[in-house]
Amino acid sequence: MNSALIIVALGFVAAVVLGSFAKAGQKMNLEQWTVGGRGFGTILMFILMAGELYTTFTFLGASGLTYSKGAAAYYVLCYLPLMYALSYWLFPAIWAYANEKRLVSQPDFFVAKYGSKLLGILVALVGIAALVPYLVLQFKGLAIIVNTTSYGAISREWAVWIGAVAITVYVMISGVRGSAWTAVLKDVAILVIVVFLGIYLPLHYYGGLGNMFSAIEVAKPGFFELPKAGSNAVWFGSTVLLSALGGCMWPHAFGSAYAARDPEAFRRNAITLPLYQLMILFVLMAGFAAVLQVPGLTGSDVDLALFKVVTATFDPWFVGAIGAAGVLTALVPSSIFLVSSATLLANNIYRPLRSDVGDAATARIAKSCVPLIALVCVFFTLDGSDTIVALLLMGYNLVTQLFPSFIGSLFAKNPINRYGAIAGILAGIGAVAIISLEKFTLVQLLPWLPASLQDINIGFVALLLNVATALLVSFVVNVFAPHCAVRNA
């Protein structure tokens, strides 16, 4: 046992304890458990929104990407501000409709707007499918932290299991309200740590940011520019756009649009949260500091960059403190994702397929789904070798497919009907699945595409296919079978 590991363990314990206290005095029913009884004020909403979007991805994934690809990592800084700008209009619209119809989850929105139970089930499936890689990357990050802060004493495999059990216990005890308080702790801790690392590491190794940038530019010329091919400007733009559109479509993000007392909170957040994203700069700086200090990491090991440079620079106890903050960055979002996916499974897939399942029974089923989902994710984590960034983009490729039918539903004359919505989503998901599983590249599929467009993000291409299919199918149904498209209100 070293001091680093002890501190990390204390971090775990603090989170679980906080999580269990938050529950005291609240009777847990389905609504309480998932959207906190609709009573969150602006500051708590801010914390919750910022918190769930700051995850292991931002901490380890972004630094790992910075370490391996340099300028490509700037995309992490760019997509969330755009998403927040979009949320200014989208979230109040979601909130108003959800409040009026007493909606509890994301699929409810689609079911109400399109009058299709099947669409609701599909949306739930997409949500769960997208959350799995997002969860897997948290588990992966947790394993990295436990493994490196134990200085190798705990193997990565054990670390994954330990983390999964801790997360599961935490979620079973507290649901969303627990997350809010531990999220505050996590946000404060990670803010302090990340600001410190982003300032100290460049100062310590180079004497300043300017020196660091120059040193890297000399050692690796072009590191701060996007390359001509691969992660170039076309990739960058399409990935930022895909992520900005998809950001609101995550089940938990969509659900957070239900949870405010007042929709003005969303508009205020759209102004302040983009600035909060500048914090990511500190993570990028830490990643840059690692480039020349711990060279040689390749493949998915780039995700170790931050912790390698941290263990090379600091005493064990401080490594442990950083590890504890990192643990919270994995624990808090994981709990939100597990609650979301468990609720989707119980409330939006199981419940519609069986009649007569009450709220209390659904809540119980949701709770029992948590360990199941965690177990599935553990197997994917143990089995996989993708970088954290690749995993997140996998999730985005899937969840963004919900955007076309969502945005259509906001218009009075929606060009997409429920058949188009279902067809479009299936087309998009199908494209993503086939391309990912067969490892096709855009060049193979669309050889006529000009060279300058070959690096468009695959998920973005699937999105375009989605839109085209949705519009086409809707049009065909409207023309040939208009009675089918009529909604039963």
């Binding site: 300028a71 700037y74 800084l77 760019c78 501000p81 755009l82 927040y84 700008a85 979009l86 200014y88 209009w89 300043g208 940011l209 300017g210 020196n211 940038f213 530019e217 072009g222 701060f224 520019e225 996007l226 170039n232 400007a233 960058f236 733009g237 930022v240 756009l241 508009r267 205020r268 759209a270 102004i271 302040t272 983009p274 600035l275 994203q277 500048l278 700069l281 990028l284």
Partner: protein, 63 residues
């Protein structure tokens, strides 16, 4: 959604168009590589634009 919403296109253009025009290291701004400096500016600009949008929305509704 109204005309002030069009202001929302500014951050989009700046963030997505930026890499097509500023994809270089020099000139460094406060030591930061050119592209990064541009993107940082664009992020701050996003916040400012949204504040402006909110202000304009508020006055058009007579709040």
């Amino acid at each position: 959604m109204n005309r002030t919403s069009l202001l929302g296109l500014l951050p989009l253009i700046a963030l997505i168009g930026g890499p097509f025009f500023f994809n270089r290291f020099e000139p460094t701004i406060f030591g930061f590589p050119c592209l990064l400096a541009w993107l940082i500016f664009s992020v701050v600009m996003t916040s400012v634009v949204m504040a402006l949008v909110r202000k304009l929305d508020g006055s058009s509704h007579g709040n």
